[in-house]
Amino acid sequence: MPEELYEIETEVPGNTVEEFLRMERMPHIWCPGCGIGTSVNCFAHALETSGLDLQKVSVVSGIGCTGRVAGYVNLDSFHTTHGRAIPFATGLKLANPNLKVVVYSGDGDLTAIGGNHFIHACRRNLDMTVILINNFTYGMTGGQVAPTTPLTATATTTPYGNFEQSFNLPYLAESCGAVYVARWTTYHVRHLTKAIKEALAKKGFSFIEVLSPCPTLYSRRNKIGDGLDQMIYYQESSEIKHGADTKTVGLDFQGKIVVGKFVDIERPTYLDAMNDYYSKRLGDKFVHYNG
């Protein structure tokens, strides 16, 4: 077990997440062994200790298994169209900069159909937190290949295995301008909780990739066991390397997983840049924008 696990002082309390959930909507739709619920648990704990005014927190999701997160969190929550959580969140945040906007969605949603929006939001350094649940597949539609599916892994639309190069998401986010980039797995609940808390406190575009088991489709089709087997894989194959060069953290099928906080830098957000620039350029004629 990685050393650092013991260094995290955040104690996960008992089941106190209920107040963060729309309990009247339980049971949720996620399969047994699915990692999405684990990540939501971490998110709730991060919120609990974040000191944020929960009235001002909005969650925006796209479509897919992870897209359903917006429907279960007891916050202002928006379940948008496929791939478009980030542009919706862009409008929401710019309309009311006092909101803390969290985009919570899947790998297919955010980096295939929504990939264009993802790179531009990084570039603009929009002040939002993006939690991307990467299960290497399209769960909701039955296990098709995704831009994150590792080489050789099987999906319904790559029945003989995937031959396309997959995305290295931390590298993508960093090179496009994200100011906070981390990766954890659903095995690393304490680290993940801490990372979400940090991301929520970070000004600018913060991005967390969460590797998460999809026992129903990805694991079953690839004969890599159930949810527990994936957790064991995460435990045995993860290496914590804070500050790792994101170029080196690409993922192979059931290979080594580099986790950690890779990027944590400062850069003016979209709104700060706009307000600063226009103040200089237009002087008194500029009406400072604050929603």
Binding site: R22, R25, Q55, K56, S58, V60, A70, G71, N74, L75, D76, S77, F78, H79, T80, T81, G83, R84, P87, F88, A89, T90, G91, L92, K93, L94, A95, N96, N98, L99, N116, H117, H120, M274, Y278, L282, K285, F286, V287, H288, Y289, G291
Partner: protein, 389 residues
């Protein structure tokens, strides 16, 4: 409520329809615009990008029209009045989000400065080929409102009306300009702010407990709240119950969809806006909208001069289609002529409402320029020869 003077450029201006539309949006209280460059609509956002920093609004040029058409909806739930602006190819990309706005009852304005299509078509030249797309372009059953201006002055006046209608009915409103009206320069009178009537968003003000986002309380249009108000709202494009929660049942669908359609359909006469000219004694009526209303005038005048009883009905609100009015018109007149810069779109609605009572003659045009009034005149003459007895 009166317009916020900050956004109102009171006075006489000599500007094109695109710029007049921008000014209309500012006067209407729009403070968030997202768009992507596309001819012949770009001037609308260019002017807004120039004006917003001076009045406290925010324009963002998004990465595409898909992003623009959903960013505005995020902004609406964040509390702003918002619009996006495009032309045919971009309008096609926005269709999914017109459905999302209809389903989630998000008031917003989509401006389409129409150009000739299909596909890339004639990017710098006019057409009215997106009229059916405006009504039906997103999948599933829903309703919208669409307006059609015929002058820069109307681009100003009716943009305000578009915002007001979107708030009143919580629907996306399509503002169907065309290249000709968009690039036509005319005098535009912008009145003082206190003469401009603005409909503010109707916010729910009751208790937070048991609040339900889509509970219309016996009315057709539920009041809104915005993100950050503490209501813990859930907004989804899935079929949802009154709480806004997904509920994938026929019963929920049966409750939701008819209301989304009926709130417009049952208010058709309230929403209707048209101009009648010499309709009282008319035997033949030319039904027009947008730029076509102007090319029809010389044709109608010529026919009148020759003693034909021709009237002119100009639709300002095209959707919802004024069914009742056209039905009663069809039982009074002997023929209807419909010139359109397309191969026959709104004429299908006229024919449906005329229901065979009178002949309806289309004057089609492929777009790229406007009708020659002579073609409309010829259609009037031939309709006069075949008119119903």
């Amino acid at each position: 409520m009166k317009a916020d003077p900050k956004g109102v450029l009171t006075g006489a201006h000599f500007i094109d329809g695109d710029h007049a539309c921008s000014e209309g949006a500012l006067a209407a209280g729009c403070r968030f615009v997202a768009g992507y460059p596309i001819t012949p609509s770009t001037e609308v956002v260019e002017r807004i990008a120039e004006r917003f920093p001076h009045i406290g609004g925010i324009f963002i040029q998004m990465e595409d029209e898909i992003a623009s058409s959903i960013a505005i909806q995020g902004a609406v739930w964040g509390g702003k009045k918002a619009m996006t602006v495009t032309s045919g190819p971009g309008f096609s990309l926005m269709m999914e989000h017109i459905g999302y706005a209809a389903m989630t009852e998000t008031p917003c304005v989509f401006v389409d400065v129409q150009r000739a299509g299909p596909s890339t078509g004639l990017p710098t030249q006019p057409a009215q080929g997106d009229m059916m797309q405006a009504r039906w372009g997103s999948h599933g059953d829903y309703s919208i409102i669409a307006l059609s201006p015929n002058s820069p002055q109307e681009c100003f006046d009716l943009t305000i009306k578009a915002f007001n209608l979107s708030e009143q009915f919580r629907v996306p409103v399509m503002f169907m300009m065309d290249e000709c009206v968009g690039h036509m320069i005319e005098r535009v009178m912008i009145p003082p702010a206190d003469e401009i009537e603005i409909l503010p968003r109707r916010f729910y003000e009751g208790a937070k407990e048991n609040y339900m986002l889509y509970h219309a309380n016996g009315e057709m249009v539920p009041p809104m709240v915005k993100a950050g108000d503490g209501y813990n709202i859930h907004v989804t494009g899935l079929t949802h119950d009154e709480r806004g929660y997904p509920s994938m049942t026929v019963a929920t669908q049966e409750k939701l969809i008819p209301r989304l359609i009926d709130k417009i359909k049952l208010n058709e006469e309230k929403i209707a806006d048209y101009r009648e000219d010499q309709i009282e004694d008319a035997e033949i009526v030319v039904v027009t909208y947008g730029i076509t209303s102007r090319t029809a005038i010389p044709a109608i005048e010529q026919a009148r001069k020759e003693g034909l009883k021709v009237g002119h009905l100009r639709l300002i609100v095209v959707w919802p289609f004024p069914e009742k009015y056209i039905r009663s018109l069809a039982s009074k007149v002997k023929a209807i002529v419909v010139p359109e810069l397309n191969q026959g779109q709104v004429v299908l609605e006229v024919e449906r409402c005329a229901a065979g009572k009178v002949p309806v003659k289309l004057v089609p045009h492929v777009g790229g320029t406007v009708h020659n009034p002579k073609d409309i005149y010829n259609a009037i003459i031939s309709s006069n020869n075949q008119k119903a007895e």
